[in-house]
């Protein structure tokens, strides 16, 4: 069972699926959707089976595949996962089918076709799997950059009013980071060739290098910039609110839920083990950035009037917690940080989906255009509340476990940073409840009021397309509550949020060994 090339399959299936979907004839939209859904479900199944095949007690990297790819550069097509990568693969597997479901009834922007949307989506999935599964730094880089293209087209072709600006901004930010990292990757290769005779990109080999501290600092910074932009840490963050706000909901979910995790994943997988000394030297600064980011982004979130921007800022704040957990260098915090990546993907994913469903009904992203929705769409409100509570890390939801682990794990080694970070939980409550109160509570307001001639339920329909706000008008409209399809999309996330909130241990058992290994690479100060 375990010698089946799970990871290759998980990359190949969606890639092929994307090609097929793209090749479909015009007008075969429905078939395209069904194919996309089927493919993504297959990937989910593969992910689950791979988890079964994964032996917790076993080696660091399992389910490995390695084929020589570019011998002249010493590049292998080498895949393999440790617990950290595995849980991320599971997250991808869970999110993509839901995104497909959520985008099911989106109307395509004129001149475009949802067929293309789903094709890009599947390609993106393949790339994301690859980036987490790669155990060859070159391969990782290739996926890291190639991943931009599908997301670029998702934002640019299917996004909101300012999608062009957002898409280019997203692409250039990531590209700059990526190119700087490229320089560092090559540098690493050169170092390896000088130490091991011939250059290699194999992660396990590079881990053994003894790099001179000065060089380490340079290389570390090269990687760090790329990951800090991706994650994103303040002050490299300003692309995220634009992208998050303009991206189609499906894209936004994957962008914030998975794509950005590549940054934090990169810290843990590459920065720490490859450049231990530099990591230790820079840790205080990075922790400073992280903690500042937690509060800064949280305050900014409160200042937003656009729901999608708000959610994006909350994510930036959460990434601060993850970074704090990673650079605290303790098992508890590290494990918590990885779990946080997963949980944040689920919680913020749900939040984005629900916000998208609300926007689809009201046709506006402005908080001020809503009010009293709960009275008419209790299910929607409920899902919104669960997502919000998860996002403010209420005990009983999954996020609590990870946030608690991060903080309690960081406290012993970094008390000051932790105390400041803990203030973030007050702000989290503030920004979530502010948004919830303004949209769901109070008397009906804004776009819920519409001209009498408009038929009741005119705001129904399940699409998550991003429109611009219609002018508010006198009388009341009925907001359709979640449709059956939307419930199917939302329910799994809600369930996972609760279950992982009460019984997170299975995931922790998967993650912890990998984190311990990483920290042992970090080793004692040399």
């Amino acid at each position: 069972m375990s010698d089946f090339p799970w990871l290759v399959a998980m990359i190949a299936v969606p890639a092929v699926g994307a090609a097929v979907v793209a090749a479909l004839l015009k007008g075969r939209e429905l078939l395209a959707k069904q194919l996309a859904l089927a493919v993504s479900l297959v990937v989910l199944a593969l992910a689950v089976l791979a988890t079964v095949a994964f032996d917790r007690g076993g080696d660091r990297f399992q389910l490995t595949t390695s084929v020589s790819w570019i011998p002249d550069f010493g590049v292998d097509f080498a895949l393999g996962v440790d617990g950290i990568a595995l849980v991320m693969l599971l997250l991808i597997g869970v999110l993509v089918p839901l995104v497909v479901g959520a985008s099911w009834e989106d109307p395509a922007p004129e001149g475009r076709s949802m067929r293309v949307f789903f094709a890009w989506l599947l390609l993106l999935e393949a790339m994301m799997v690859g980036v987490f599964a790669a155990t060859d730094v070159f391969l990782f880089y290739v996926f890291f950059e190639a991943m931009l293209v599908p997301m670029y087209f998702l934002i640019g072709s299917f996004g909101g009013p300012r999608r062009q600006y957002a898409a280019v901004k997203f692409f250039l930010y990531s590209l700059v980071g990526g190119l700087v990292m490229l320089a560092a990757v090559i540098g690493l290769y050169v170092v390896s060739s000088s130490q091991l005779g011939e250059g290699t990109f194999a992660f396990d080999a590079l881990r053994q290098l003894e790099i001179d501290p000065g060089v380490q600092k340079l290389l570390f910074l090269g990687f760090f910039v790329a990951f800090a932009i991706k994650a994103p840490l303040v002050p490299f963050h300003t692309w995220l609110p634009d992208s998050g706000a303009e991206a189609p909901i499906g894209g936004a979910v994957l962008l914030v839920g998975v794509l950005d995790k590549v940054g934090t994943f990169g810290f843990l997988r590459y920065c720490l083990p490859l450049f231990p000394d530099a990591s230790r030297d820079f840790a205080p600064w990075i922790l400073g950035l992280a903690v500042a980011g937690i509060l800064y982004a949280a305050l900014l979130a409160m200042g937003q009037s656009d729901m999608k921007r708000l959610v994006s800022y909350t994510s930036i704040s959460h990434f601060g917690f993850i970074a704090l957990g990673i650079f605290a260098f303790t098992t508890e915090a590290g494990t918590g940080a990885v779990l946080y990546m997963v949980n944040h993907g689920l919680a913020t994913g749900l939040l984005f989906l629900v916000v998208g469903m609300l926007i689809a009904r009201g046709g506006s992203r402005q908080i001020g255009d809503y009010g009293g929705v709960a009275a008419q769409a209790p299910k929607l409100a409920g899902a919104f509340l669960v997502a919000g509570l998860a996002s403010l890390a209420l005990p009983g939801t999954n996020s609590f476990v990870s946030e608690f682990l991060v903080l309690i794990g960081s406290y012993p080694s970094r008390p000051v940073f932790t105390v400041v970070a803990t203030l973030g939980i007050i702000l989290a409550a503030l920004y979530i409840l502010l948004m919830y109160q303004r949209t769901m509570h109070g008397p009906p307001r804004g776009v819920l009021m519409a001209a009498p001639d408009e038929a009741p339920g005119a705001l129904g329909g399940g699409s998550t397309a991003v429109l611009t706000a219609p002018a508010p008008a006198p009388s009341r409209l009925r907001v359709a509550d979640l449709s059956g399809r939307e419930l199917v999309v939302v329910a799994p996330l809600v369930a996972l949020i609760i279950v992982l909130g009460v019984y997170p241990q299975p995931l922790l058992d998967l993650i912890e060994p990998a984190v311990t290994a990483t920290l042992s690479d970090l080793g004692a100060p040399r």
Binding site: P235, T238, M302, G303, G372, G396, L407, I408, T422, M440
Partner: protein, 634 residues
Amino acid sequence: METMSAEGLLSWSWLLVALPLAGAAVLLLGGRRTDRWGHLLGTATVAAAFVLAVLCTVQLAGLDERRADVDLFTFISSGDLDVRAGLLLDPLSLTFALLITGVGSLIHVYSIGYMAHDAGRRRFFAYLNLFVAAMLLLVLGNSFVALYVGWEGVGLASYLLIAFWYTRPAAATAAKKAFIMNRVGDVGLALAIFVMFAQLGTTSYAGVFAAVGTLAGGTVTALGLLLLLGACGKSGQFPLHAWLPDAMEGPTPVSALIHAATMVTAGVYLIARSAPIYDETPTARAVVLAVGAVTLLIGAIAGCAFDDIKKVLAYSTVSQIGYMFLAVGLGPAGYVAGLAHLLAHGFFKAGLFLGAGSVMHAMDDSVDMRRFGGLWRRLPVTFVTFGLGYLALIGFPFLSGYFTKDAIIEAALDRDDAWGWVLGGVAVLGAGLTAFYMTRLMLMTFFGRPRWEDGVHPHESPSVMTVPMVVLAVGSVGAGFLLVRAFPLADWLEPVFGEEHEAEHVVAPLTVGLVVTGVMLLGVLAAWLFVGRREVPVLAPVRVSPVTRAARNALYADTVNESLLMRPGQWLTRALVWLDNRGVDGAVNGLAATLGGSSSRLGRAQTGFVRTYALGMLGGAVLVAGALLAVTAG
């Protein structure tokens, strides 16, 4: 303290939490199809929990250890951190469990009637069940983490219930305010847990209390203060008390159960539970005392000035919990007294709120006492039950308040130092104020000439509402005597707080009793002089003394919060948004603009004239040659 795992019925005690939780789940997920019987299910689960609690208590009383651990499953385990989900059954936790489920059941029953005509009744019972589950987890959990989970759980339930009528902006805002101020306290609690883990490597009661002695004094004090911060947030103590009166926006049964009887006393529970920590740190304990005393007065003073019946009761709650903090702040001498007062308060304050609810029910949901008056004839049952609760609260001799409050005052005086006298004095003064504002309330509500608005026809509430009120009234009459004299709570709690040492009294109990009663009577008299004798104006007089104005503004707590925190926060947020857009993002866009600008500026060099290009080439050639020569020379 080594732990012995529970067997028999006790090992099923997790059902205490599970039952109401299941109820909540069914009601929330079941949707409309559970509307018809939802409230019954909700009540049933809590009632069942109560029965179970009683049985557990009986069995526990049988054990010589009077302590049992129920280990359930691993909650969070990573690295050195190992948090197991489990329950700790001992007299303290079960006492609370009984109070919560008992009073809870009564209020559920009451709510059946009270919410009969509300479209969201099912939702209401779901939230109530959720609250009971969380509250039970809070008191039964066997580690600070479990407590924290329940702690925030009740916070959520309280949020949902305060905002139950969420279409009213006031309700929504009050709910948010409550949650946020609670969160402030939660930060303290969370930090305390971090410190425990960092210093002791564990968060379970057993582990922490066993090792707390080994900690440095400063650390223990820090622990104590952090826990106190949490307690203040939850129990509406100074300086985090401003949310509790606003919380009255919720339906009255909620005010009775959550914001009077149970949740707001969680802080007292926390401090009592953490006795081993506070035993190590007189400093923190002194702060607890100070908080208690200050809050006691603030609550009492504010209570005198409001015309909103629920607000008055809310401030009374604040003040009474101040008494409890004062008590537990006294240490071993006061724990039992504090808890006794807590239980008694649970009865009579719940009763008073239910009574107030019944009054509102009769007065078309009006809460303005200036529009009441002369209700005793129309609402006999309510009047009687409410009256008994009133007497119990002001400490009328031989009713529950009398015993428990006096016990606290005695304990305070027994310190036999200046502090003792100050605290005792404050407590006595508080008793007088309590008598004043409660009498004022009685007079304005039940006596005098009716000042009802037109179209209001007061009528007694249905029995489903009155019965619980009667039960609670009985409780408020008897609880004090039972707890202090008949079956001393002290003996029952002895395994938790150790032998009750019979302190020799500085002032004879009888004297204390007489003094307190005297002050109480003075308060009543004053109230009659100010309110009872003359006609109550329907509109609150505007030209009043600064003292009254201050009292009406609850001593400006909200004003301070707003001007010190809210406004600056909003300002800071606006500033940061500006900074982020203009500054951080502006820098990036600026860079892009600069590149674009320099591009078109450099582009000018591309004049299209061959001769310019040639010049450029020549210049380049000269540069190249020069550079090369320089390199060679150098």
